[in-house]
């Protein structure tokens, strides 16, 4: 089989794969940078919690629309995710509970509620679709929806880049100069939820966060500056999407998990060969003279 047949022909022959590829590229460009910033804020697990928290909203949207309608499920997921984010933020600001602890409590409740709703009203197949995604079902509407979210994400990140980065690095400084840090914090959480919602038709609610955190981890291993990390994360997510789709097509695997496993593989390879990991000792190299 030639390289053309292996890498390009599937996309040339099948419209649904082309749409899936465009969706993956868009998701990668949006989720990569978000993941880097989440990780730098030491909120990796908050992203995970959020991806579970959107489930009841998505489930209700799924039941009302009667099918895997991304706008309906997206709206429901957005409302559920934002409610959990706001409630957790409120709890961590008014009680001694840290933000991760309050997130954990709310997302567990939210996840249980979501599974309850889907299992009470839908079949097991429906539940699997919501949890793991069905990339074959991405239609033009879903594609516009994902594209709009990615464009919005990149635009907003570009605008609030400076205060957001300062808020991550030195929140005390931003507070002292009257920089309204919590405003950017919540705007950022809004972007996190939006990108998870965009990801869940392709990858499912449980794995959408994988396209955020794994590329971000890879980026931290290879780059030292924030812009480089953001580019590497977006690139890694996009390439994982492409390779994952190719493999899942040829081997008949489920696309969502294959994409995330591809990203995991890139992460493992980076652990072994990136300059940061090499300095850390897996494959030590000699030091320089100066």
């Amino acid at each position: 089989m030639s390289i053309y047949h292996f890498l390009i022909a599937p996309f040339a022959d099948y419209g649904f794969l082309r749409r899936a590829l465009v969706a993956c590229i868009a998701l990668g460009i949006g989720s990569g940078p978000i993941g880097v910033l989440l990780m730098l804020r030491r909120m990796s697990l908050v992203g995970d919690a959020m991806s579970h928290a959107v489930l009841p909203g998505a489930a209700i949207g799924f039941l009302i629309a009667g099918s895997l309608s991304l706008p309906a499920m997206g709206l429901g997921g957005l409302i559920a995710g934002l409610s959990v984010a706001l409630l957790s933020g409120l709890v961590s600001r008014t009680t001694p509970l840290r933000e991760d602890a309050s997130f954990a409590s709310f997302y567990l409740a939210s996840l249980a509620l979501g599974v309850l709703i889907v299992s009470a009203r839908g079949s097991n197949i429906d539940l699997l679709h919501v949890l793991f995604g069905t990339i074959l079902a991405i239609d033009a509407t879903a594609l516009y929806f994902i594209g709009a979210i990615t464009s919005f994400t990149v635009l907003v990140l570009a605008i609030i880049y400076r205060p957001l980065v300062i808020e991550c690095f030195d929140p005390g400084f931003l507070r002292a100069i009257g920089g309204h840090g919590s405003r950017y914090h919540f705007l950022f959480l809004f972007l996190v939820v939006l990108n998870l919602v965009a990801g869940f038709q392709a990858l499912g609610t449980l794995m959408a966060v994988g396209l955020m955190m794994l590329p971000a981890a890879v980026a931290q291993l290879w780059a030292r500056t924030l812009p480089a990390m953001i580019l590497i994360a977006a690139g890694t997510a996009t390439i994982s999407g492409f390779i994952g789709l190719v493999i899942s097509f040829h081997l008949g695997f489920a696309s969502g998990p294959t994409i995330i496993l591809t990203a995991s593989l890139i992460y493992v390879v980076s652990l072994a060969f990136s300059p940061v990991a090499a300095a850390g000792g897996l494959f030590p190299r000699s030091h320089l003279t100066g």
Partner: protein, 251 residues
């Protein structure tokens, strides 16, 4: 009201209703240079956080007069900042240009050259492209001082600026603090080293939750006062009753 005075009236700050700072009255005059000294747990850092408005007061008010947030430069304790964050030295210093550039404005060429000069002043010329992760604790503290220089603030608050910093860096940075004092800026620094306080700071606020003494360093840092501060700090009453001063005022 004179601009630049920071007036404290009956300031109390509490954690879980236990006071960390208790009924503090007084004022930081414009251009004054004050050390905030006292034993561990005396509420020194808490007071500084309240001065920048980071935590709210249990009682009383802090009157900052005409000072706006960008007039105040604040150096938090070193442990509060993640030094592995992927920023360069230059980017970190340029945060000090917030007053000119704000959240969205362009960084002017003048800010860039000022930042370069500030880095030179702290002895880190040509460091602007280095990542902060590659710096030592002392070098990083110099970077934060460069950021303060760029902020050009009227009031400068330093929280334990020389803790875990080598002697040479401490000496260099103390010179910068003295420079701020000469330029007429108000300097308030939390310090542990009593020798440093006596040698360099004209005014001292000796704090042990309650103010022990506040005035010229020679008359506040007496051994009797220090002894009292130590004794006060060791009292922490789990079953403390409601403060009678406050109850009296409420009645």
């Amino acid at each position: 009201m004179t601009t630049g005075v920071i007036q404290l009236r009956d300031v109390s700050i509490a954690y879980e209703r236990h006071p960390a700072v208790h009924h503090l009255d007084g004022a930081f005059a414009p251009g004054s240079m004050t050390a905030v000294a006292g034993p561990n747990g005396a509420g020194k850092s808490t007071l500084l956080k309240a001065l920048v408005g980071e935590i709210s007061l249990a009682t009383g008010i802090i009157d900052r007069g005409a000072l706006v947030p960008t007039d105040i430069g604040y150096l938090p304790q070193a442990a509060e900042i993640d030094r592995r964050f992927p920023l360069t030295v230059g980017e970190t210093v340029l945060m000090g240009a917030w007053r000119q550039a704000g959240a969205f404005g362009a960084i002017s060429a003048r800010s860039v050259s000022d930042a370069r000069r500030a880095l030179g002043a702290v002895g880190l010329s040509d460091f602007e492209r280095r990542s902060i992760a590659s710096l030592s604790a002392g070098q990083f503290q110099r970077v934060l001082f460069a950021r303060l220089l760029l902020q050009d603030a009227k009031v400068i608050l330093l929280d334990e600026p020389f803790t875990a910093i080598d002697a040479r860096t401490t000496r260099d940075l103390l010179k910068i603090v003295q420079g701020w004092h000469r330029e007429g800026r108000t300097v308030i620094a939390v310090l542990h080293d009593f020798e440093q306080v006596r040698a360099h700071f004209p005014q001292t606020l000796l704090l042990a939750r309650e103010p022990i003494a506040w005035g010229p360093t020679a008359s506040t840092m007496t051994s009797a006062n220090l002894q009292r501060a130590q004794e006060m700090a060791e009292q922490w009453d789990e079953n403390a009753t409601i403060c009678s001063m406050q109850a009296g005022r409420a009645a």
